[in-house]
């Protein structure tokens, strides 16, 4: 059978048997949740409620409750949207792209990374919704037959491309995730004692029996879905970036956006995965599955993407100067020297300078340091979107309408709220779902398991 080079570090530590893996993963679901979990979910649920309250107030009263104005028509809403979509990308990337590249280390993290994707995309999808002046007419964006006769949507609009991209991306990653979950639900079904849970997991597992034919199909489907999801994940953020790239506003109208946004997305996505995995690994005692090696691999991805993003920033500046267009060049001069320079330099430090520290192997493998960095990176990426959106809009072509953006408590409440909702969903996932891909882990046990490595 296939032997992995012994210089590679094992990805599963401890003398694990198939049974142990099941026990380790399903155990927490069977037993009572730790106190920490209850505390965590209470806090995040409260934040979520506050956010939902703000959203209801927003919808009830009007977009005016945000700090937007005639010059800056988008600010935190779309910033958050792009930020969340970006975060979402890591999950699909890990499960799809790394699957294609046969990267075994993905298996320990892909399940929760995909979960993160799903929840992040839900958060993201919320913003284009609530940022609409008339949410209740949101169905206008779908080409539905209607009482007005032949009144259709505008397929030229990048915003409509977004609608298609986001909905496709969300549904496909959901399916991908769930198909992977089915066999593991079956495992729980066959293990768990309490009748109610048995029934529920029975339904969730769709009656999976693990026949040989099922498994062949299963592997085929995973492979093809991965193959489809890979271009999808790149297309989605490219299309998001086209919201800006196809416009005429200096600072938005840039052809470099698609690659720049995608790498930025991966960058922030991996940072968020780090944050979550480090917490989960501790609380759910998964040290043997999510190893230092995993953390290090992800940090390497962060260095690479972080550097790409850095290059993109510099290219932008160069182009603005090289183009010789006064509006273009002013837009960027204004970015780093204008009223919003603090945002620009916050972005620069968080996204370009800080990831470079990961070149030091010691830091790269330090969990504490990684955790702090992962948060810094996500702050930086939020600022990147803020800088792109607000500093381009607030001073565009006609100086008479130049203005500033000042967030209101609703802006802030909605953003914090989405973070609350996100963590609530993730905590529920961690409690009731198999957080590791059992069947996949088992299949690599004999290849990358510590015990087996030592044997040979």
């Amino acid at each position: 059978m296939f032997k992995e080079a012994s210089i590679r570090e094992p990805l599963i530590l401890g003398n694990k048997s198939y049974g142990d893996i099941t026990a380790d993963v399903v155990g927490p679901i069977e037993n009572k949740a730790p106190k920490g979990w209850y505390i965590a979910i209470t806090i995040s649920a409260l934040i979520a409620l506050w956010g939902i309250g703000c959203i209801l107030y927003l919808i009830g009263t009007g977009i005016g409750t945000w700090g937007l104005n005639k010059t800056v028509g988008w600010a935190w809403d779309i910033t958050n949207f792009v930020w969340w979509v970006g975060i979402g990308h890591a999950g699909t990337l890990i499960s799809a792209v790394l699957l294609l590249f046969r990267q075994r280390w993905r298996m320990a993290i892909n399940r929760s990374a995909e979960a993160m994707t799903i929840f992040a995309v839900i958060m993201a999808a919320m913003f284009p919704g609530i940022h609409m002046g008339r949410l209740w007419l949101g169905y206008f964006v779908f080409p539905l037959p209607n009482q007005f006769g032949s009144l259709w949507v505008n397929f030229n609009s990048p915003l409509l491309w977004d609608v298609f991209a986001i909905s496709t991306y969300f549904s496909v990653s959901l399916v991908f995730w769930y198909i992977g979950l089915i066999p593991d639900f079956a495992t729980i079904r066959d293990r768990i004692k309490t009748p109610v849970a048995k029934k529920v997991y029975g339904i969730l597992s769709f009656g999976w029996s693990g026949k040989a034919k099922n498994w062949t199909r299963f592997e085929e489907v995973s492979l093809v879905l991965a193959g489809i999801a890979t271009p999808l994940v790149f297309s989605v953020h490219s299309i998001v970036s086209m919201d800006f790239a196809t416009s005429v506003i200096p600072g938005w109208h840039t052809t470099i956006f698609p690659p720049y946004f995608v790498s930025g997305a991966v960058f922030s996505g991996f940072a968020m995965v780090q944050t979550l995995m480090l917490i989960m690994r501790k609380t759910m005692r998964l040290e043997n599955y999510v190893t230092i090696k995993h953390v290090e691999y992800m940090n390497i991805v962060i260095i690479v993407t972080g550097s790409i993003v850095g290059v993109a920033y510099i290219t932008e500046l160069f182009m603005s100067w090289y183009s010789g267009v006064e509006y273009e060049s002013y837009a960027f001069i204004n970015r780093f020297s204008g009223p919003y320079l603090w945002a620009y330099w916050a972005m620069m430090t968080c996204n370009v300078i800080s990831p470079q520290l990961f070149w030091v192997k010691k830091w790269r493998r330090s969990l504490g340091f990684t955790f702090v960095m992962s948060i810094i990176v996500n702050i930086g990426m939020w600022f990147e979107r803020f800088v792109i959106i607000v500093t381009s809009l607030h001073r565009d072509y006609v100086p008479s309408s130049w203005s500033m953006f000042h967030p209101t408590f609703v802006d802030i409440g909605v953003f914090i709220g989405t973070i609350g909702i996100f963590f609530t969903l993730f905590l529920l996932f961690a409690r009731f779902f198999p957080v590791l891909a059992l069947n996949e882990l088992k299949s690599i046990l004999k290849v990358s398991g510590e015990e087996h490595k030592n044997k040979h």
Partner: protein, 177 residues
């Protein structure tokens, strides 16, 4: 004689594979195999044919693409052509570049979901379907070969059992029906 099904349980995928090979070598037809994860190499041994899901998804993708093209053409060019920002919509090919993202996304949408649905249906894995694995442990750490005496008219049940006992079988169940 009455038909009967024999479930030979093994505690490791490699042993299962070995046993399967032996049995097939003795000309015994193995009906199916239940395992907690894909056992690579079992399919050819017990004669499981290759799946055609890949082609299915390609067909769905193709369908999605043509549907998207039809839609964009009908909505933007045929049914109610409008002057939107001066973009040319006199003929489809003039306006088409603006639709590429939509065409792509819809293709992916159809391909992925079409395939996923076919997969679930062909697998008979749908909400509320009963599980048919002979033993709950097969989703944990046990591996089972299913041998139906009906497929092996040539041998008596006892002969079958003998042959199976010859392998490193971990547990043996024999059901009559």
């Amino acid at each position: 004689m009455a038909n009967s099904v024999i479930y030979a349980m093994y505690d490791d995928d490699q042993t299962l594979l070995k046993a399967a090979k032996e049995l097939v070598g003795k000309g015994i037809k193995v009906k199916d195999c239940y395992s907690p994860f894909p056992v690579h190499g079992i399919d050819p041994v017990i004669g499981v044919t290759r799946t055609r899901l890949g082609i299915v998804s390609f067909m769905f993708g193709l369908g999605g693409l043509s549907l998207a093209m039809l839609g964009t053409w009908y909505f933007m060019i045929h049914d109610w052509p409008m002057n939107i920002g001066g973009k040319p919509n006199f003929a489809y090919h003039l306006n088409m570049p603006a639709f590429v993202p939509i065409l792509f996304e819809f293709t992916v949408f159809c391909a992925a979901h079409g395939m996923a649905l076919t997969y679930l249906i062909r697998n008979k894995t749908l909400p509320g379907m009963p599980a048919v694995n002979p033993d709950p442990r097969t989703t944990d750490n046990r591996f089972v070969l299913e041998i139906d005496s009906h497929d092996n008219q040539g041998m008596t049940t006892d002969a079958l059992l003998e042959a199976i006992k010859g392998t490193e079988v971990f547990e043996l169940n024999h059901k009559k029906y």
